[in-house]
């Protein structure tokens, strides 16, 4: 140690202030090095695998339209495994995993006491909220991409693969179909961002992560229940879950972006509203944990 002065000078000169991407990198690395994260992603990957095996093993042929959407087409074309599993996972399973990750953001750090050390580092409260939200968003994309990839792989293994007949009756090539799969994954990830913002806000309200997780899942289930009540039809377009299954438009020729756009606008509204609520709650919160 030739320059011990670095540690010992009485007037430390702070290094230049950086933009602070390091914290985002750290957040992603902590999130994706956690066993729980991979357990959930593994469970997500199991959905298409179980679905494909069940279809392969059963002898009864489904009539078109029976069971979840696209299920009857799976035996003819493995590329439909991904679409079908997406439909199966959206109502409960994906919101459940998002609820766990989003509910854990602030409450998890508070519960284990690391929040106070991040804040005295100082991470900055706004910056920490942004980084935490970016982490949840990254998880949304990871979950849907993994589900898509697992679906494509198991579909290719168990079923024939070929050009895909779209809902509009047109036939598209395999590369084009893969592109559509990614588009569907992007659509579903985007659909989950509103719920992620709600989870982040709930997470700022408590020091008990399990409570925030459960509350986020409850919100997601409640929104879907409201969405099926005809009396509340006026409310439906404003529910964050209303467009969750709307990705069928992406399986038409020509590509219809209307649902994608509407969905994006609704999710953005939720992000802005609940982001603002999370900020107003967290910016001046007394950190007692």
């Amino acid at each position: 140690m030739s320059s011990s002065s670095e540690m010992t000078n009485a007037r430390p000169v702070p290094d230049r202030r950086s933009v602070g991407w390091d914290l985002l990198g750290s957040e992603l690395s902590v999130l994706f090095r956690r066993r729980r994260t991979w357990a959930m992603l593994g469970a997500v990957a199991l959905i298409p695998i179980l679905l494909a095996i069940a279809v392969r093993l059963s002898t009864t042929t489904l009539a078109a339209g029976e069971g979840p959407p696209f299920l009857s087409r799976v035996t003819q074309n493995g590329l439909f495994v991904g679409f079908t599993s997406m439909v199966v996972a959206i109502p409960l399973f994906l919101p459940l995993t998002i609820g766990v990750v989003a509910g854990d953001t602030i409450a998890g750090e508070a519960g284990q006491g690391t929040l106070r050390y991040l804040l005295v580092a100082p991470a900055g409260r706004v910056r920490l909220l942004l980084v935490k939200y970016a982490g949840v968003a990254a998880f949304c994309f990871a979950a849907t991409i993994i589900l898509t990839i697992a679906g494509l792989l198991i579909g290719a293994v168990l079923f024939p693969i070929g050009p895909v007949t779209l809902l509009s009756g047109d036939v598209i090539s395999i590369p084009d179909a893969l592109l559509r799969s990614l588009l569907v994954a992007a659509y579903v990830s985007l659909s989950l961002l509103g719920l992620a913002a709600i989870g982040l806000f709930i997470s700022t309200l408590t020091d008990v992560p399990v409570g925030a997780m459960a509350a986020t899942v409850v919100v997601s289930v409640t929104a879907q229940i409201l969405d099926i009540l005809p009396q509340l039809a006026w409310l439906h377009p404003w529910l964050f879950s209303h467009y969750w299954l709307g990705f069928a438009d992406l399986l038409r020729q020509p590509l219809d972006w209307t649902a994608f756009g509407t969905n994006a606008v609704v999710q953005l509204c939720y992000i802005l509203i609940f982001g603002a609520l999370a900020y107003s709650r967290f910016a001046t919160k007394n950190i007692q944990s």
């Binding site: 430390p12 950086s18 690391t114 991040l118 005295v120 900055g124 001046t284």
Partner: protein, 320 residues
């Protein structure tokens, strides 16, 4: 830059925190001189931790102000906190990450911490607290003492001007406690101000140059250790069989003696000599002249513990 003409590293003015109708911290005026090792004493629940959380911008004061390193908190938090190392109410880490990865996590939260020097700084901080060998173990497997050391390493990740250490020796064995004391001494010798909270008097007595005593949300005493101890006061103790005569003699010299039974024949007579008005030699001389048979005679300065108990009350009851 530290533009504090006051020479105070921490300075609070009527700093108050209320939770609902309960006052946790009641208008305290802290004055922590730069370069001091400042002991923050008080029983559990006296408001120490809430005060520390206000210094660090974790808790918003209800009223009053606090300046740390010459700048207002929490307004200037982003420029003050990088110069402050802190251990707040025990260490806290990600149990599934290693010691090194935990420090990396906290260091990356500080926008002034350079990522180029990060690995080297983490290494030297771990070495400083004697954790180099456990650096790559998961914190899950750490003992409380090791976590405490890792918490200190986190406070030392970058060169600091002020260290705020809340109960730094909690969970450490006597060996570890001594190491922490030496560490604090070394840091103070480098000119770093150290603010240590503790409910252990002996710890403060051994480490600190200054102290403040908190009780039920108030600062009941503050100053140099000598001032707090009351060095101007002597305490005289006499063990004798001639108790009544001894009491009368001391009373005649202007003291207010008290007796306590010590055995079948003899008893201790004790008295405080305020401002050292009477020399010990004069006392012993007067006692012998009066014919008091002295078995033992001692004069000493009162311990910090006696002062502490006098200020905060005895027993386990949480005040408030």
């Amino acid at each position: 830059m530290t533009n504090d003409a006051s020479g105070l590293a921490i300075e609070s003015d009527a700093l108050t925190k209320q939770f609902g109708r309960q006052t946790a911290v009641n208008a305290i005026d802290l004055a922590v001189p730069q370069g001091s090792v400042f002991g923050f004493l008080g029983p559990n629940g006296s408001g120490k931790t809430t005060s520390i959380r206000m210094l660090l911008g974790l808790v918003q004061p209800t009223s009053g102000t606090v300046r740390v390193l010459g700048e207002r908190m929490p307004d200037r938090l982003h420029t003050v906190l990088p110069r402050v190392g802190a251990l707040v109410e025990g260490p806290a880490f990600y149990p599934y990450l290693s010691g090194v990865d935990n420090l990396r996590r906290y260091d990356s939260a500080d926008r002034f911490a350079s990522s180029r020097s990060r690995a080297a700084r983490i290494d030297s901080a771990l070495e400083r607290v004697g954790l180099s060998n456990a650096a790559h173990k998961r914190v899950h497997a750490y003992s409380l003492g090791m976590k405490q050391r890792l918490g200190l390493a986190n406070a030392l990740l970058r060169p600091r001007e002020l260290l705020v250490l809340d109960e730094p020796t909690n969970g450490l064995d006597p060996q570890g406690t001594r190491e922490v004391r030496n560490l604090v001494g070394g840091l103070a010798a480098e000119g770093i101000t150290v603010f240590v909270s503790s409910h252990l008097l002996s710890e403060v007595a051994q480490m600190c140059t200054h102290a403040a005593v908190m009780s039920a949300g108030n600062i009941v005493a503050q100053g140099t250790l000598a001032e707090l101890r009351g060095v101007d006061t002597d305490r005289v103790r006499v063990l004798t069989e001639d108790v009544e005569v001894a009491v009368q003699t001391l009373a005649r010299l202007g003291l207010s003696p008290q007796k306590s039974d010590a055995g079948p024949t003899a008893a201790w007579v004790t008295a405080a000599v305020l401002d050292k008005t009477v020399a010990p030699e004069a006392l012993s001389g007067a006692l012998m002249e009066a014919g008091v048979r002295i078995r033992a005679f001692s004069v000493d300065e009162p311990s910090l513990e006696e002062r502490f108990v006098a200020l905060t009350g005895e027993g386990f009851d949480v005040v408030q």
